[in-house]
Symmetry: C2
Subunit: 429 residues, 2 copies
């Protein structure tokens, strides 16, 4: 993509309404614009990151044996009346009537819809287990939406629902999601610490929330140093052991009761990016989601639900990865792999080499943003540092005389001089 | 994917509420389930097709130089009051108030939102042209939703919005979308005939709707036989010539006034799958979306909008491609590339060969559905014919004695006997 054509409305100043760094940087970098309170439009740069985060989540869910579906945003009220949550949910649920005066709502979550699908489609224990997920926009009418996409009203979630015949099955499903979540966040460059949690409005008897560490996190968290030693991408991750590690948010951490020796206790600030619940027959019973068991008797299915805040993660990753100059995207979620900075757009030699690099990198499948604007080097560097592309290739007349261009890592700031051919080999490798 | 684990709730009978074949087949094939009137959940098979259709649309929009964004589903009423459409839109617009009693709506279209983004972000003619698109769920509160996903209330659209400095630019944007649409539909196996259209509620002065031919189409269409000769994937498609070809829906076709010689007039039934509009300054003027022109004067931008019914296309493709036994997916949108039918699951040799084929095809990147159920050959064939996977590989004890399996085309019904190795080469090629 050539920057001269790209829709990237940068802001010089942080808008006053943005209180946290991710919100400020997303606005300044032209990733989002607010449409109304807590509701955002995702512009090309933000949308590209959102899609990459979404795709990592999708790949890990598929790898964990889950099947993707898509449930509607607009739900009928009657299934919520059946589950008993319609009155209970409170004003965060956006309720309305359709033109025939039927009570409807914009789904804040989908336990009722998925349980309704299940009860109409699955009748036998032989069709279990099932784990269905979707990546879908939800709405919660927060009284005071803030922090940009971190606590918006319309937000993108990945939500899974597992169905099992018995507790043992449900525990396997839960543990499977537990380790899938550790892997998912790790692939985005994040270490997520699972903390035993009260399960709140969704209800349940086994629950963990996943917090990532960021100095600007919303709550203080305490955890076992052993987390830092774990290889979260190991295929044989021992879920039971990890679940026994101590981890607690500020509210639940009682220093006197903490079982950890002081030298193993770490603390930091955390941002919640995922939450998993086992809740047994809480929904299957009132909604009548039962299967015929092996002995011919009907059994209410054991369920769990598992959420990842996909749009929230975009903000959370920025909270974890930024500096004074702007965003520092981990490579796995970056909107572009490489930025080409032509220091002198008017110089024929520079334009030729940059154009050639652009063509070759694109052909090799590398996602490139080419700053072809007629701007000063200072403006160009500031732009690339702000939007945080992991690799910058700087092409200037002086280097070209020596046959080299500069390859710079946004994260480390380290630079290296290489021939244009070597840059292509390195980045396309 | 092994069919024994796949969530594929097939129905033996067509539900009474389904009046048209695509709706019947989508329900029978376990692609969708209704959640409330005109609102559907997409189950794994339906979701897979929806994603493939969406991806073709995305690739063609990107190739045409458009940039993807994502605007919110929930919109503030005030921008619709600015454009003058809030009162005019009628009861198909789903309106509600949020908890602070602000008037909101579930977007039936996004001209207002995108014009609002534009006016806040773009100020100079040097940033034109721009063409922004999204693939987003919309809601129209149809009084009588019917025909399944063909006329649902919650539906997935691709909508683009072009911004140009003058009419000449706007015409280039329009023509660019015109040919992109022909290519997009062609890639799904569809010949879409562009028909000059009245532009209805969105308003405008230049407009075409794209109708695909299907014997079960909703309206009768008349068109020039020359369409059938066109190579719609040709890079140098002559848009002006095509726009001059005669094509009209029943309502607009006046036999006495038709300029075509009778031997060139074709007629059939059509389904509308896309619609493009040029509407000038209809939204930019009331919303104040202006740029500074080359001479320093403010100019209201010239706009167009361009829609493709993504979820509707899934139904439309089925209307165009089915037979008595079920769906016949074009390869480009099929939920799986290949189905493996093991005729005797209990036979060790059959299970081994099928398992081996499954592993090798998956490794080669082929999307395979493996019917590993313990069912009769008749049931397995009926399932695969119903869900319409383009290629079936049939593995049975008799063939294996001769070292062959059967490769069958769902579309033509033709079969061929090949060694398992040759099947892998053919399908992975």
């Amino acid at each position: 993509m050539r920057l001269s054509a790209y829709f990237l409305p940068l802001l010089k100043e942080s808008p006053a309404e943005a209180q946290i760094v991710s919100h400020q940087l997303m606005l300044r970098a032209g990733m989002i614009r607010q449409s109304s309170a807590g509701i955002y439009s995702w512009l090309p740069l933000g949308h590209a990151v959102l899609r990459r985060v979404e795709q990592i989540v999708r790949e890990e869910m598929n790898a964990a044996g889950c099947q993707e579906i898509l449930m509607p945003a607009v739900q009928p009220a009657d299934i919520w009346q059946e589950s008993g949550r319609y009155e209970a949910y409170g004003r965060e649920m956006l309720r309305f009537e359709d033109r025939h005066e039927r009570a409807m709502l914009f789904g804040p979550t989908h336990e009722e819809v998925v349980t309704d699908i299940f009860r109409r489609c699955i009748r036998s224990y032989r069709d279990l287990p099932k784990n269905l997920y979707q990546i879908q926009w939800k709405f919660r009418d927060e009284i005071r939406p803030r922090f940009g996409v971190m606590r918006g009203r319309e937000f993108l979630m990945k939500d899974n629902y597992s169905f099992d015949l018995d507790f043992e099955g449900a525990k396997r499903s839960y543990d499977n999601m537990f380790s899938a979540y550790l892997r998912t966040f790790k692939r985005m460059g994040l270490t997520a610490i699972p903390m035993r949690a009260e399960s709140g409005a969704i209800g349940g008897s086994m629950s963990h929330e996943f917090q990532i560490l960021a100095s600007t996190g919303e709550s203080e968290v305490f955890y076992d140093a052993a987390f830092e030693e774990l290889d979260l991408l190991a295929p044989d991750l021992d879920v039971d052991t990890i679940q026994r590690y101590y981890a607690a948010t500020d509210e639940q951490h009682l220093p006197d009761a903490c079982p950890l020796p002081p030298e193993r206790l770490r603390h930091g600030r955390g941002i919640e990016v995922g939450h998993i619940f086992y809740f047994g027959t809480k929904y299957s019973k009132p909604l009548g989601a039962a299967v015929t068991g092996p002995d011919g008797e009907d059994v209410f299915v054991e369920m769990g639900s598992y959420g990842i805040g996909v749009s929230r993660l975009v903000g959370a990753i920025i909270e974890a990865y930024h500096d004074d100059k702007g965003i520092i995207w981990p490579e796995s979620v970056a909107p572009f792999d490489v930025a080409l900075v032509n220091l002198r757009a008017s110089d024929t030699g520079c334009a030729e080499v940059t154009g050639d690099l652009y063509a070759k990198l694109k052909t090799a499948g590398v996602d490139v943003l080419y700053d072809d604007r007629d701007e000063s080097p200072g403006v160009k560097f500031a732009t690339m540092d702000l939007i945080g592309i992991p690799w910058q290739v700087v092409i200037g007349p002086r280097g070209l005389k020596a046959g080299v261009v500069e390859l710079k890592s946004r994260a480390s700031g380290e630079t290296e001089e290489l021939s244009p051919e070597a840059v292509v080999d390195r980045l396309a490798g």
